[in-house]
């Protein structure tokens, strides 16, 4: 009897085996990944009145229907100059008193012709030896904080929003501000280098003498025209540009990395007109809310679009150490640009979805919009507009023969090139196909990703005003945008097509319970499932097998010796009963 017992058990197991085998054949179920709280920068208490057309201190400011419009007080201050703007307006903005000086109507045409612009070098998302995480933060997308350097207008007071916050104040941001002057102005660009590395300013494409009247170098090239502007030093670049157009300024020290770090901006020379107070700085680029006189003659609106790209390896160097000597070594000698690849693609300093807050082109039908395109990426840009074919009027600031101008829908720019476009919103099937939310983006597809995650990168949109909400967001009629505003999406843990249909057919595979396989990066999943990394899974498998084996052996002996076991249990129970 006892001898026959094992074979009985084997027979039972044989019958059970198909059921056990089903567990192996059946595929893992789908689980729902928690989205996390969407991070927004639009709800930061911006008064809706900022979006309206208005006049401050005599400065005519156009409406800006986007979610994060430029502060009208800042527009007034940069148009009038910090020396001319009213004290009330000046006190509202964080600019230093001497940051933009505009004076001396030399040609007597009603506008100042002597312009002094002071720029500082600011590190965003840098290192602090006092706490973990980046200092003076600027998110290019939710939770994405690459270390950057920018030229910034000279400011006063704290670098951050307030004492509690670690977020950079709104004047300190990427990209470096667009500088606008009038043709023939006497312009001094003063670089006050408060950064811990040497820098210079090279005025790329801007008419400037190699040396100024005092014999000082003016080209910004530390090897040929001047030395380095060391930390704590300042240098003034004096120019009187005779030609108009969209040009560039950038640091020319270790240019291969300093330009990519963000020390590059647009420099636009507007045509001379009477009473022409130009918007000296366009902080954060985007819409020019006070276009120059010549632009207003021909266009309804003007936009500056600055495209940039970042290699996260380079941009993490300044987050890896505090000692400037270590940072210099890593950046100048260990980092190899020839082995690099660009991961983040920004338009006006931010990536999708934050571009929706700041870089929408908002239009009405039958408008003409002037667009200044600039590519400071390391690779060619192939900007494409949905719903529109724009006309290329200028290359690198020089007007193209009007008879030979090209109207097309992909605009290709080599690194450092500029292009002026005329966007015509007339619905004629050529210039425009009607009203809508028409996205525009780099058609080199890596440009529409944030470190490979799509949608991301430099995607933005031309939005007709009837498709805009009160808060300046596009009234989309497709996928809910909320997920894109979460860190989970940016960090690849949120499935792109989660809940695309009723039963989440393309959701996350539940790899933890049944298949013992692993999610791609160890992300947060909902409470019913667990997150396990690979080695732990292997250990668990072995442990489970061993425990199972022991349990099997124990079970066998319990069955074989069941009489003794029952007896033992009974005696225990009885004994217990007696005790009680």
């Amino acid at each position: 009897m006892i001898v026959r017992f094992p074979w009985t058990i084997s027979a039972i197991m044989g019958c059970l085996w198909p059921i056990l085998a089903i567990a192996q054949v059946d595929l893992p179920s789908t689980l729902k990944v928690e989205k996390g709280t969407p991070q927004t920068i639009c709800e930061s208490g911006i008064p809706s009145s900022w979006r309206d057309a208005q006049i401050i201190d005599g400065v005519d400011i156009q409406e800006s229907r986007i979610c994060n419009p430029d502060d009208p007080a800042i527009i007034a201050a940069v148009v009038k100059g910090t020396n001319n703007v009213s004290m009330k307006t000046f006190m509202e903005v964080g600019l230093a008193a001497d940051s933009i000086i505009k004076k001396d109507d030399i040609d007597g045409d009603g506008d100042p012709d002597r312009i002094i612009i002071k720029l500082e070098v600011i590190e965003l998302n840098g290192y602090s030896p006092d706490f973990k995480g980046p200092d003076t933060t600027f998110d290019i997308a939710p939770g994405i904080q690459p270390g950057m350097w920018v030229f910034a207008p000279k400011t006063r007071g704290m670098s951050t929003l307030d004492i509690e916050s670690n977020q950079a104040n709104p004047l300190l941001r990427a990209p470096s501000p667009v500088i606008r002057v009038e043709q023939g102005d006497s312009v001094s660009i003063v670089l006050e280098n408060g950064h811990y590395f040497p820098h210079t300013i090279h005025l790329h494409g801007v008419d400037h003498p190699f040396v100024d009247s005092s014999g000082e170098g003016n080209d910004g090239v530390p090897q040929t025209s001047e030395g380095l502007v060391m930390p704590g030093e300042s240098r003034t670049y004096n120019i009187k540009p005779r030609q108009t157009g969209a040009m560039v300024y950038h640091c020319h020290v270790q240019t291969h990395v300093h330009l990519a770090m963000g020390l590059v901006g647009m420099f636009i020379i507007e045509e001379n007109r009477p009473d022409n107070w130009v918007q000296t700085l366009n902080i954060g680029a985007g819409q020019v809310r006070h276009p120059a006189a010549a632009i207003r003659e021909d266009f309804n609106q003007e936009y500056d679009l600055h495209y940039h790209a970042l290699d996260k390896e380079l941009h993490s160097i300044i987050q890896s150490a505090n000692d400037p000597r270590l940072i210099a070594k890593k950046m100048n000698r260990e980092y190899d640009l020839t082995d690099s690849s660009e991961d983040y693609h920004t338009l006006n300093g931010r990536s999708f979805p934050y571009t929706l807050f700041e870089s929408l082109i908002t239009v009405d039908p039958d408008e003409k919009v002037k667009i200044r395109l600039f590519n400071s990426q390391g690779e060619t840009l192939a900007m494409h507009t949905h719903g529109h074919k724009a006309t290329i009027t200028h290359y690198d600031g020089i007007e193209h023969n009007p008879a030979a101008q090209i109207t097309r829908d992909v605009y290709d720019l080599a690194p450092a090139q500029r292009m002026d476009l005329t966007l015509d919103t007339t619905n004629d099937g050529l210039h425009n196909y009607g009203e809508g939310i028409w996205i525009f983006h780099d058609h080199r597809e890596k440009g529409i990703t944030t470190d490979g995650m799509n949608p991301g990168g430099n995607i933005s949109a031309v939005v007709y005003k009837k498709y805009l909400t009160e808060e300046g967001m596009p009234k989309v009629q497709g996928i809910d945008l909320a997920a894109y505003f979460t860190k989970e999406f940016q960090q690849r843990s949120y499935p792109v097509w989660q809940d695309a249909d009723e039963w989440n057919s393309l959701g996350e595979v539940d790899t933890t319970e049944k298949g013992n396989r692993e999610t791609a990066d160890g992300s947060v999943v909902s409470e019913e499932a667990h997150n396990v990394n690979t080695p732990q899974t292997d250990r668990n498998s072995f442990r489970n097998l061993f425990v199972g084996l022991l349990a099997g052996l124990l079970l066998y002996f319990i069955i074989v010796r069941r009489e003794q076991v029952m007896k033992l249990i009974n005696s225990r129970m009885n004994g217990k009963g007696v005790d009680e």
Binding site: Q24, D130, G157, S213, G548, Y556
Partner: protein
């Protein structure tokens, strides 16, 4: 005479003189041209600024001003020279005063850029946002006055321009016995998060924001693998039972040991056989 005129003419006059002047501006004393914006906030149009100035109001617990002191503190790139791996510094890193001291600070900026002397943590009912602040573009000087509170406390002073504190512009004012020593002060205290100077271990520090905390839970014991183990156990058990039938526990133990031993010696023999193959070849040469 010239130095007295300059503050009034400011940068406008300088720029009119010529470009060479702009490159090396003369020292500017900003104290004489400040405009009072109320609440201890003074400012001029040349970038000089004082915030939280308080010459009169006694903080709670102070019966009177205990001491009147003046401090001249210098700021600039050159003061970082004694501290390798720093880029900007003050000329003094630690200062001591009695509680309820009235202190007038003269900040002298010897660089050609902006610097600050900023303090936080002062009583908010006197100092707006608990802050005292001096700011001046160099080369130049700006002055401000404050009255310290009554308790023992250590105050931080620093420059809040991005990166200036981390790169060396940090010091402490110890009032009375103070309330400890602050980290990362050049020459006083170690960096709170030290750099690694070992070439091999220099690695990227992940910003906190990038890390999503992952909840670690152990995997469940009852799983497919467990069931397989259970089945194996049940299958193997009768075979073992037949082998060890009628044996005592010690006999079973000895048998298992001898099995393990013979298994191990088998493996060893195999290894030595492999080694012999290789060694044998060597001997032939």
């Amino acid at each position: 005479m010239k130095l007295r005129l300059l503050p009034f003419l400011g940068i406008f006059a300088l720029s009119a003189v010529g470009h060479a002047k702009e490159q090396q501006p003369d020292f500017v004393d900003h104290d004489t041209m400040l405009m009072d914006h109320g609440n201890g906030h003074l400012m001029n149009m040349d970038g000089g600024m004082v915030m939280g100035q308080n010459k009169e109001i006694l903080p709670g617990g102070c019966k009177r001003i205990s001491d009147n002191k003046e401090l001249t503190i210098k700021a600039g790139h050159k003061f970082a020279k004694p501290f390798p791996g720093r880029m900007f510094a003050f000329d003094q890193q630690e200062l001591r005063y009695k509680p309820c001291t009235r202190l007038t600070i003269h900040l002298i900026n010897e660089d050609n850029i902006r610097h600050q002397f900023m303090m936080h943590g002062l009583p908010k009912y006197i100092y707006p946002r608990g802050m005292f602040h001096l700011e001046v573009t160099g080369p130049g000087k700006i002055s401000g006055t404050l009255i310290f509170p009554s308790g023992d406390q250590t105050f931080l002073y620093h420059c809040d321009i991005a990166q200036h504190m981390g790169k060396g512009m940090k010091g402490q004012i110890i009032i009375g016995k103070g309330s400890g020593t602050l980290p990362s002060i050049p020459g006083i205290s170690a960096l709170a998060i030290p750099d690694s100077y070992d070439r091999q271990t220099i690695e990227k520090r992940e910003p906190d924001e990038h890390v999503v905390p992952v909840e670690k839970k152990s995997a469940p014991l009852i799983s497919g693998i467990f069931v397989i183990g259970l089945a194996l156990g049940l299958l193997v058990a009768p075979i073992l039972a037949r082998r060890y039938k009628g044996m005592t526990a010690s006999e079973i133990g000895t048998d298992v040991l001898s099995l393990v031993k013979s298994g191990a010696s088998g493996i060893l023999q195999f290894i030595s056989w492999l080694a012999g193959l290789l060694g044998g070849q060597k001997k032939e040469f």
